[in-house]
Symmetry: C2
Subunit: 343 residues, 2 copies
């Protein structure tokens, strides 16, 4: 049975209030009192009981990060960043995975863990605007990526249309004309719709047609799904000289199949993704990608959440910040040694 604050107080010959003050950084305390407390704490090996504190305070110092799955590089890397940033605020992160399942997303927001956390950072996959009423009921919430809930919670957004536009423009600039849009297609998440819209705008600006045959759905945004869809497109005899994977996983799956089929990347088909995961750097050839500023996303998300937790009553609207993005050109679009033919 571990020592309690009462034990410390008794040994230090002060009241529990004073010991509590000590642990809460209350400044007005005689140096000698402080020293006595410190000695007692050492002697007893005392550690503050966080559960009791939480019960009394009504807050836990924990936030959850709700993502589809950890074994996708993007989410694993995001989780690591969020954990690190949260730690600088003294917050502990509970990582919840949902497999993109609607019920599990709702459960993460309003289930048993609900009262274990002071707020949540949520990367929704299945939930849509019609679920808005169930969005945690007063739980401080920051939504990542999706803009469907704007006005209902704080958001950290990716400029989906612009990112897609830039990616497709890059492919056009290196001379590609028939670009497979991998991850678009019905029904499609809101993110998918926006990235498709941006892609088609870039094609239109370049005076290129949008070929419905080259707008391809995938069953999820994983390497498996990207590989399968690309294989199908090749088997169908569709012709394309570039692939825009709506995330890195899709692009890597596509690239894998292309190489497997003996096609040259980027010689025959150029490939570009989105996310700048570590996997992109270590693909062979290395994958050109749009970096969404993951570190910035994690930082802003935690900051927004912390201020929402501290001042829940700021009813004058919710914040939406959009992260910066950047084109990272690698070998999957511009072969090394090739002089970039960009005008």
């Amino acid at each position: 049975m571990p020592a309690t604050m009462h034990d410390v107080a008794a040994l230090a010959r002060v009241s529990v209030k004073t010991v509590s003050n000590y642990f809460n950084g209350y400044p007005y305390m005689r140096a000698e009192t402080r020293a006595r407390i410190e000695r007692a704490v050492d002697e007893l090996g005392y550690r503050l009981n966080v559960t009791a504190r939480s019960l009394r305070r009504g807050s836990t110092g924990m936030i959850s990060l709700i993502v589809p799955e950890l074994d996708q590089a993007y989410f694993a890397e995001l989780a690591q960043e969020v954990i690190d940033v949260a730690a600088t605020f003294g917050l502990t992160v509970l990582v919840e995975t949902t497999s993109g399942d609607r019920d599990r997303e709702l459960e993460a927001l309003s289930g048993l863990h609900r009262q274990l956390i002071d707020g949540a950072i949520f990367d929704p996959l299945a939930l849509g605007p019609s679920d808005a009423p169930q969005l945690g009921g007063g739980l401080p919430l920051v939504i990542l990526g999706e803009r469907q809930f704007e006005g209902l919670a704080d958001h950290v957004l990716i400029a989906d249309e612009e990112v897609a536009h830039r990616a497709v423009s890059h492919l056009v600039e290196i001379g590609r004309r028939r670009i497979l849009l991998l991850g678009a297609g019905s029904p499609g998440t809101h993110t998918a719709i926006l990235r498709r819209r941006g892609s088609e705008a870039a094609l239109a600006e370049a005076g290129l047609p949008v070929d419905g045959d080259l707008v391809v759905s995938t069953d999820g945004w994983t390497r498996d799904a990207g590989a399968a869809a690309t294989a199908r497109a090749l088997d169908d005899g569709r012709r394309f000289d570039a692939v825009f994977g709506f995330n890195d996983a899709l692009a890597l799956g596509a690239q894998w199949v292309l190489l497997e089929r003996g096609l040259a990347v980027p010689g025959d088909v150029a490939v570009i993704g989105v996310d700048d995961t570590r996997d992109a750097r270590f693909a062979h050839p290395t994958l050109t990608t749009m970096s969404p500023g993951r570190a910035q996303i994690a930082r802003r998300a935690v900051e927004l959440l912390v201020s929402r937790i501290r001042e829940p009553e700021t009813e004058n609207g919710f914040a939406s910040v959009t992260a910066d993005f950047e084109l990272i050109v690698r070998d999957s679009t511009v072969a090394p040694g090739t002089l970039n033919s960009t005008p």
Copy 2:
């Protein structure tokens, strides 16, 4: 202000104890009482306060998983498995990352989060046997991978020597003679030492010499480190026809550099790893690897931890279970179409 158990009790016209019984699956209850409680719960939207329960029970229903970093595929995939298995036991997982830093490993075991958890699953990187006294002081603990603490906690082990032996034997069977051991070398974790030992045993059995030049240290077990060390070995003019990366990340880093330098895999150099991460399946060429039975590891770890939490006083020694492993042959050692020349 959310409803409490008292509110429910009042509305259902029973005592709080009865409501508590209801939530704890106490079987002796009249159907009508149960129905009244259920109606009151619904009406009030009542949810059990986990913090209060934890305070009263002295346990939280949370366990932590302590790993070096989530953005390594192996750990991300392991975390996902552990979270899923733990959920079947009604346990919540707190994922702690340490960067393999000694202080952070100790902090995860005995810091503030210590009392937030009922036990921990720990994949140590920096801590050694000399830290044993600090191993959580009575915290139920299951250690993964490392056998250095055997006798001090429960273990779920990988058969490091046998795994390495099998990997090297496979390379020998396909005719390789000069095998780079990537990840061995001083100082080296205990795991590294065992895998090196197993590798050298396999070489010895095959009548092959152990060339010190081919035993290569890396700065961590990441793709970056694997790439850097392999590049160095090539630059030094060391000759080898195979690489055994002590994990998939190292092997993938090596493979990446080899391809970058224009060498053929497996034509010039065969590559094999350990872990069977998803990355291995999507490398190009696909990476041959030793599967350590990750699902089994996660399941056994959680099971051991749960029984240790339930019966902390089983002082008659600690359990050590060793996971099964399996060789997964892919294209990085046996090119597709090549008839396997194994005797």
